[in-house]
């Protein structure tokens, strides 16, 4: 350790190379053979770099892509507004998102309540997730389908009139996971169909 007057150190025999030498030194040649056969090589830490890209890419014809998306949305029970002339390549989707109602945790901090805990449903949470799907052309024959979270609203139009409290603050504490989950459902539907 390069810290003054300290006796903190790294145990040399715990370093992988020295540990391997220690083990091999205490084994008979037959045992060393066994070691080789047991696939006891160090775990490779080279991380195949995860390559991220926006949306999903497609080389199909634009109209085919749009058809695939509408079909997938239909299979997943989503609804969409009729596209306007100027926005033929944009789909404004609404999804009924009604998994088990979230609970109002009396104490938010019990992150992982045992399952059997009774969950009283929370009233008036919006149950329609909005998403905007748009086709972009990157270059000839190379398209990108972009997914954008569009906020929440109530399936019962009456409740939508109440306006949204904390509009500006809305985006600063929203859970992306329902959106990410619906995007995976749609991508899987497209992958499986294609």
């Amino acid at each position: 350790s390069n810290v003054a007057n300290s006796t903190i150190a790294i145990l040399p025999s715990s370093l992988p190379q020295l540990h391997r030498a220690y083990i091999m030194e205490h084994l008979t040649p037959e045992q060393q053979q066994v070691i080789q056969s047991k696939n006891l090589t160090p775990l490779s830490t080279k991380k195949s770099k995860t390559r991220w890209h926006f949306g999903i890419r497609s080389r199909s014809y634009p109209l085919d892509v749009m058809g695939e998306i509408y079909r997938a949305l239909q299979n997943l029970g989503a609804e969409w507004s009729k596209p306007s002339e100027e926005e033929l390549w944009t789909i404004r989707v609404r999804w009924k998102y009604s998994p088990a109602k979230p609970t109002v945790d009396a104490d938010l901090d019990d992150f992982h309540k045992p399952e059997e805990e009774e969950e009283e449903p929370v009233s008036n949470t919006p149950d329609m997730m909005k998403m905007q799907i748009q086709l972009f052309q990157l270059e000839p024959n190379n398209y990108l389908v972009d997914f954008k979270f569009g906020g929440w609203e109530f399936s019962n139009p009456e409740e939508n009139k109440a306006g949204v409290e904390g509009e500006d603050d809305e985006m600063s504490s929203f859970s992306a996971y329902p959106f990410l989950h619906m995007a995976t459902r749609l991508i899987m539907e497209l992958a499986v169909n294609s």
Binding site: F54, S172, S173, I187
Partner: protein, 32 residues
């Protein structure tokens, strides 16, 4: 939305979300 190519029947999607004054890249791994 950011995505990765599907490998071993597993899909990863991500989005960058502002939480107050900080930015969290939330990554969800799900089975195909």
């Amino acid at each position: 939305l950011a995505t990765t190519s599907i490998k071993h029947n597993t899909l990863a999607v991500a989005s960058i979300v502002r939480y107050k004054q900080k930015y969290s890249t939330q990554i969800l791994y799900a089975p195909l």
